[in-house]
């Protein structure tokens, strides 16, 4: 208790010094009720102050004071007063609060000035509701404990309300967690009811009254502090708001001394590991999707999620339980539907999203919120319910050219009370949405165009080199071969036509049409053989085609033979019909020809296939 007694002594000296300073103004606090909640790691103080103007002049400013050791740890302060009469009509109106310079007030006191909604004239009364949250005021004591010891913390406050004004009646109640209470300062009118400690009421106190108290009690709350939290909120107009949060979490309670025994922790987790916390609960907005939880070295599989229409609850379990002084780093990310957060007003769009971390009871020492707007956003402005440091950056993401504008908001010492909505206003035209798909399309377009150009362009260095010439020639040979092939195919098709005409003849017996067909095919075949000639000549002359040309010649010869055989057959059949011979007779006559035709056709097809494979 050495340290705390020193603090006590200092405070006593301070109080004596204070008592000598003159009264600040003519305001009098007729009734002060203070409630301090220390069930979590954050000390939440809520006060109801009844202010009376006992002086002659009207007053428009009210001074709030805290001892410096508390004031330095003040994370959140809001003052409101209720308007309207009657309980049902009461609405709370926030008043503006600013840190004031302490003129005439000692340095050991932090001063805040509240602007009253309207000047308080003589004799008027006003009720103010003050809510303040302090971090780091619950000091672990002892500072180092072993795994099995319980976690004790200490709270220092004043039993009497520290104020520049005289207080007529005041009371204080401290809500402690439902656990062991090691000790507390006993003054007059001190009562301990269950887990609630009451001081007062004290009457007619002078201004700057101070009477230090110390409460030493067990805390089972998680002392989870994010030393650094970076929240990145990326707006995509394709329908998603992607939130990525990087946490550097540390357990700020009493530090672990000695060894950590897994056996004890597993077998008797309550006494042997009560000071550690295993879970953190994050309450995400409803309809959050694609949630992930990972760290530098990969996915962390220990987390659970529950969701309903009002909220999404994510239970995060770090890789290891966090004992006092242990740290961890992790990232959680989730997507949110754009329509829930993005609205339009007066030609501008605005993003309306919560500022702080979704994790319950987490104190953030340094919070950086980066709102990444789509590429091409303009006229960016931010409104926040409290003061934050603002700056702008550029971030490059997929397919960005100019980069995306990033609004960076920075705030120290953030508590869950700061989880209020901020608005980011910007202008963005929908045409910009198309830029990225267009970029992709043009990228692929260029790729294909270059491919097409590459295959068609001639990149050989020396146009007169023998290999190049040979290649050109070979290409020509191939082209010629293809021509030959197509002509032969055509010939075969004409043969088929001729056969068809014969079949027609056998069915209808119309000799004239059959003859006409014969005539037309004759001329066609003649034309084709004319076409074939120069090609054959070319193949024979080309040196590269020397091994092919015999085959081609064979093919052409075979085709000729086939043609002749067909003609002969045709003639025979037509003659047979003209002579009105019987069908069997004709068949017998052409049977040998038919046999040859089939084998020839087969051979031609084989040759064609062979040529095809070159």
């Amino acid at each position: 208790m050495k340290q705390s007694s020193v603090v006590d002594l200092l405070l006593l000296l301070l109080a004596i010094a204070l008592l000598t300073t003159p009264a600040f103004s003519d305001l009098v606090l007729s009734k002060v009720e203070r409630r301090i909640d220390v069930t979590s790691q954050i000390a939440r103080v809520s006060k109801t102050l009844k202010v009376v103007n006992s002086g002659s002049e009207s007053v428009s400013e009210f001074i709030l004071t805290f001892p410096k050791f508390l004031g330095n740890n003040l994370a959140y302060l809001s003052v409101s007063h209720s308007e309207g009469k009657g309980k049902s009509k009461r609405t709370l109106v926030n008043l503006s609060v600013r840190e004031a310079d302490s003129k005439g007030i000692p340095d050991s006191i932090s001063v805040y000035s509240v602007a009253l909604p309207k000047p308080l004239s003589k004799g008027d009364t006003l009720t103010l509701e003050v809510v303040a949250a302090f971090t780091n005021v619950l000091q672990p004591f002892p500072e180092k404990i072993t795994q099995g010891e319980i976690h004790l913390v200490m709270l220092q406050e004043s039993a009497q309300y520290l104020s520049p004004y005289a207080v007529e009646s005041q009371s204080l109640s401290i809500k402690l967690p439902n656990a062991r209470i090691e000790s507390y300062t006993k003054l007059e009118n001190t009562k301990l009811q269950g887990s609630e400690l009451k001081y007062g009421p004290y009457k007619n106190l002078q201004s700057y009254s101070y009477s230090p108290i110390v409460v030493h009690f067990e805390s089972k709350a998680a002392f989870a502090v994010a030393e650094n939290l970076v929240r990145e909120i990326e707006v995509s107009h394709w329908g998603n708001v992607q939130v990525t949060e990087n946490y550097n979490v540390v357990h700020r309670g009493a530090q672990l001394r000695g060894e950590f025994s897994r056996l004890d922790f597993q077998a008797r987790p309550n006494p042997r590991g009560a000071s550690a916390f295993r879970h953190l609960l994050a309450r995400l907005p409803p309809r959050a999707h694609s949630i992930y939880y990972r760290d530098d070295i990969g996915n962390i599989s220990t987390s659970e999620m529950q969701s309903d229409s009002k909220k999404t609850e994510l239970l995060i379990e770090p890789r290891f339980p966090l004992f006092g002084g242990w740290k961890t780093f992790f990232t959680i990310g989730y997507g949110l539907p754009l329509s829930d957060f993005l609205f339009a007003s007066e030609g501008k769009r605005f993003l309306n999203i919560s500022f702080g971390s979704p994790i319950l009871d987490l104190v953030t020492e340094k919070l950086i919120v980066q709102v990444v707007l789509p590429e091409g956003s303009k006229d960016i402005s931010v409104t926040t319910p409290f003061a934050v440091k603002q700056s702008q950056e550029i971030k490059y993401s997929h397919l960005d050219i100019a980069g995306r504008p990033v609004v960076v908001l920075e705030k120290n010492n953030v508590v869950p009370d700061h989880n209020q909505h901020i608005q980011v206003y910007y202008k963005f035209s929908n045409i910009n949405l198309l830029s990225e798909p267009l970029m992709l399309i043009s990228g692929f377009f260029i790729l294909f165009i270059t491919c097409i150009i590459y295959t068609r362009a001639d990149f050989s260095i020396s146009k007169s080199s023998p290999t190049y010439l040979a290649k050109l020639q070979w290409d020509e040979v191939l082209a010629t071969l293809q021509e030959v092939q197509s002509i032969i195919q055509k010939c075969l098709a004409t043969h088929d036509k001729l056969e068809a005409s014969l079949r027609d003849l056998s069915r209808t017996g119309d000799i004239q049409t059959c003859k006409a067909a014969r005539k037309s095919t004759d001329s066609l075949l003649k034309d084709l053989s004319k076409e074939l000639k120069p090609l054959l000549g070319f193949l024979q002359s080309s040196s590269l085609a020397s091994h092919i040309s015999p085959k081609v010649e064979e093919l052409v010869a075979k085709e000729k033979e086939l043609e002749e055989k067909l003609m002969a057959k045709h003639t025979t059949v037509v003659e047979g019909y003209e002579k009105k011979s019987s069908g069997r007779d004709i068949e017998n006559r052409i049977a040998s020809q038919q046999q040859k035709i089939i084998t020839l056709r087969q051979e031609i097809e084989d040759l064609l296939e062979f040529i095809d494979e070159i």
Binding site: G258, E259, F260, S261, R262, L263, D295, D296, I297, G298, N299, I300, S301, T302, R319, F320, G325, W326, K327, T328, F329, Y396, S397, H398, L399, D400, I401, M439, G443, T455, R456, L472, D475, E476, L478, A479, Q482, E483, S486, E531, A591, Q594, Q595, I598, T599, Q602, E605, D612
Partner: protein, 735 residues
């Protein structure tokens, strides 16, 4: 692509207007030519195989997550991260003080940078194209990407060796071959991932150079070799196989100008390029492993010279004498040079690893640190079957086809297949090197068989077709058909064989998918087991422990552990380690082995001298995880004992048996490793119906349940006890 070749042709013959018109006409009819159909088919098959090779390797990402696997990849990942953050020069000059404390390691001079540079280049290219991906994703997907590229190389190689059909089959076979997948799943970011691609590419380009005699191909193969050298120590295989191949060609009288150009260009340029890699440097001209290549190079010159002299002399008798003199003097000079070089130490002798390849028993007797690695064990038959499946039977068939059509190229693939298969038998991990050869040769077998069978079927079909067009009544036709059917069951036999081949191939595909999904996709950092109700249980203890180290120890803390975990601790825990998987300093590892196998107070002195702050052990007694430190302990004793004779293996054994229960030797029960693994384990009940302190990995009740630690204290134990970390206490004040 069908339309692509068509206009190209019409362009080349634009001088002939009539041809232009006809070709246009055929284009209009939209019927693709057989050639074009074939091209379209081939390209679409290749494209599908390319995609298949990639996605088959994504099982690990789907089953687990996008993460780096195993041990060495973590080092590669760490260095890649360094490279992308600090740039190439910093990387090249990097002295890493985080490993091998207090010696440190010159990273730039002791690694093969190919993999890291490749990944960094991909990363930078993607960033340039405005895809802002994380370097981890690039690293995870590097291996599948290169596996896909390997299938392309395999196609071209197969085409060069045999025909396009064989190339396609080879691409398909290698895309899903378990022997290759085992080292190239997503996340297995190891040197082998790109090295197999580089190896096959070099071989392909060299064969192409030999076939064409083109300087350009030889140059390309030299660059392929350079890439291989920069990526993996296995390049030694290339620089020995290629000269061996050249030698065989020389002996079989297949010497040609093409070979001369290909080999000389590839060797000289490849050597100069390889020497640019700092880790190789002058070894390439000085060490024994590279001498063969140089010898063959000189022999080649002698051959060329003799050829020239023969041409000049025109006199057989004179030439014979000249030949005798030259050969004798050349051999003499060579022998003297090698002798002098070795004696003066200019030529370094073969390394242990090389010896152990040629003589499988060498490592076991002389270098326990090589023998201790599981992937250096001789291969069991079952793992051949597991990794090759039907390829094991197709391989000899392919060899038969190769011998039937002996060319320069097939000689190469036969030699590659046979030598690599021998090495695969010596060491498990070298199955990987043999896989491409096995796939190629098997592909030749499959392709040739199918081609023969189908051509048989097709000729038959034609005959029957003609028979049918002719009409049923023709008696002459039927007589001709019977004439053709000289072998009566040929067609049916062919169909049956084809069905058999397709059945085998589909079994192969099923087997490969199963093996990939079940056996080769585990990252081994995260262990998965089936719970009592069939649910999946994940043991993520390694990362839990490493992350604890990263977050909750001093940034300059030194961690002592067995070398297996060194890379992981530096990469994931970001802490300094005493030894790691690089194993370049045997003495240092032996010191750690000695500390682990000594009594606590002796070990404490060693740890103090090494500035150790934490000791990490891996213990599977609670979960039944068998590859833990107790099971590796005998290797620590052996390696420690190899340098420090104080440590004697028999002290830890009882009648030659390794035990941890009551019957264990007293030294075993009280050595540091035992104490650290079983500290307070005796109070824990692991299995219902068994006494407390029942070790599930070894199935015994431990022998020493009352373990007191004097100089160390438990700092952290993971939730399933797999990793246990102890803090080394500072020395107590002297009284």
């Amino acid at each position: 692509m069908g339309g692509k070749s068509e206009p190209a042709k019409s362009e080349s013959m634009a001088t002939k207007p009539d041809l232009l018109i006809t070709s246009f006409f055929s284009f209009k009819s939209l019927k693709l030519k057989t050639k074009q159909q074939e091209l379209l088919l081939r390209i679409s098959i290749l494209g599908l195989v390319y995609i298949l090779a990639f996605i088959a390797r994504l099982f690990s990402v789907l089953r687990y997550e996008s993460m780096i696997h195993e041990f060495d990849p973590y080092f590669n990942y760490r260095t890649t991260l360094f490279l992308t953050e600090k740039g190439f020069y910093e990387f090249w000059n990097w002295f890493d003080s985080e490993s091998w404390y207090p010696l440190g390691r010159i990273i730039g001079g002791t690694l093969y940078p190919g993999l890291m540079v490749t990944a960094a280049l991909i990363y930078w290219t993607l960033r340039f194209l405005r895809f802002f991906v994380h370097i981890r994703e690039v690293c995870v997907l590097t291996a599948p990407f290169f596996a896909s590229n390997t299938t392309l190389v395999a196609y071209f190689f197969g085409k060069e060796l045999w025909d396009t059909g064989a190339g396609l089959v080879a691409a398909v076979l290698i895309a899903i071959c378990p022997g290759y997948i085992s080292r190239s799943v997503a996340g297995s970011y190891d040197n082998e991932a790109v090295a197999i691609f580089a190896l096959l590419l070099t071989f392909y380009l060299f064969v192409k150079a030999v076939n064409t005699g083109s300087l350009a191909w030889a140059l390309a193969s030299a660059f392929g070799y350079f890439y291989m050298v920069s990526a993996w120590g296995g390049y030694v295989f290339i620089i020995n196989l290629v000269p061996l191949y050249v030698l065989v060609l020389l002996i079989t009288g297949r010497y040609s100008m093409r070979l001369y150009i290909a080999y000389n260009c590839m060797y000289i340029l490849g050597m100069l390029l390889a020497m640019q890699i700092r880790f190789v440097g002058f070894q390439h001209v000085q060490s024994g492993e590279h001498m063969g290549a140089m010898g063959v190079f000189l022999l080649m010159q002698v051959f060329y010279f003799l050829d020239w002299v023969k041409y000049q002399l025109n006199d057989t008798k004179l030439f014979q004498t000249f030949l005798r003199i030259t050969v004798t003097s050349a051999i003499l000079v060579g022998g003297v040079a090698v002798g002098v070089g070795t004696a003066s130490g200019y030529i370094s002798p073969w390394t242990g690893r090389f010896y152990s390849l040629l003589d499988p028993t060498y490592a076991k007797d002389h270098i326990p640190i090589i023998a201790s690695v599981s992937e250096h064990q001789p291969t069991a038959w079952s793992s051949f079957m597991f990794d090759y499946h039907i390829l094991l039977f197709l391989f000899p068939a392919g060899l038969y086809f190769c011998f039937k059509r002996l060319t320069d190229a097939t000689i190469f693939i036969v030699m590659y297949g046979l030598t690599s298969l021998y090495f695969a038998g010596v060491m498990v991990r070298l199955i990987l090197v043999a896989t491409p050869a096995v796939c190629l040769i098997s592909a030749i077998a499959v392709s040739a068989t199918i081609k023969n069978l189908t051509s048989l079927l097709r000729t038959k079909q034609k005959v029957s077709q003609t028979g049918s067009t002719k009409g049923a009544g023709s008696s002459k036709a039927s007589s001709k058909v019977t004439l053709d059917q000289s072998q009566p069951f040929q067609k049916n036999g062919a169909i049956a064989l084809l069905v058999g081949v397709f059945y085998l191939l589909s079994r192969y595909a099923i087997h490969c998918t199963w093996v990939t999904a079940e056996a080769y996709s585990s990252p081994s950092i995260v262990l998965a087991a089936r719970g009592a109700h069939g649910n999946r249980i994940i043991f993520d203890d390694y990362r839990e422990a490493y992350y604890w180290l990263r977050q909750n120890t001093a940034t300059d803390a030194k961690i002592m552990s067995w070398w297996d975990y060194g890379y992981q601790i530096t990469a994931m825990g970001n802490r300094t380690v005493i030894v790691d998987n690089n194993t370049w300093n045997n003495t240092h590892i032996a010191t750690v082995g000695r500390a682990m196998s000594s009594y606590e107070d002796e070990a404490y002195d060693i740890m103090r001298s090494l500035d150790v702050n934490y000791v990490l052990v891996v213990f599977g007694g609670v979960t039944g995880y068998s590859s833990d430190d107790i099971n590796k302990f005998l290797w620590m004793v052996r390696i420690g004992g190899g340098v420090f004779p104080v440590i004697k293996e028999p002290d830890y054994l009882v009648n030659g048996e390794f035990r941890v229960d009551k019957g264990a030797s007293p030294k075993m029960l009280n050595c540091l490793m035992y104490k650290l693994c079983y500290y307070r384990f005796g109070e824990l009940t692991t299995e219902y119906g068994k006494p407390p302190g029942y070790d599930r990995a070894r199935g015994v009740e431990i022998g020493n349940k009352d373990i007191k630690l004097e100089h160390l204290e438990e700092a952290y134990t993971t939730s399933n006890w797999i990793v246990r970390i102890y803090r080394v206490k500072p020395p107590t004040n002297r009284l």
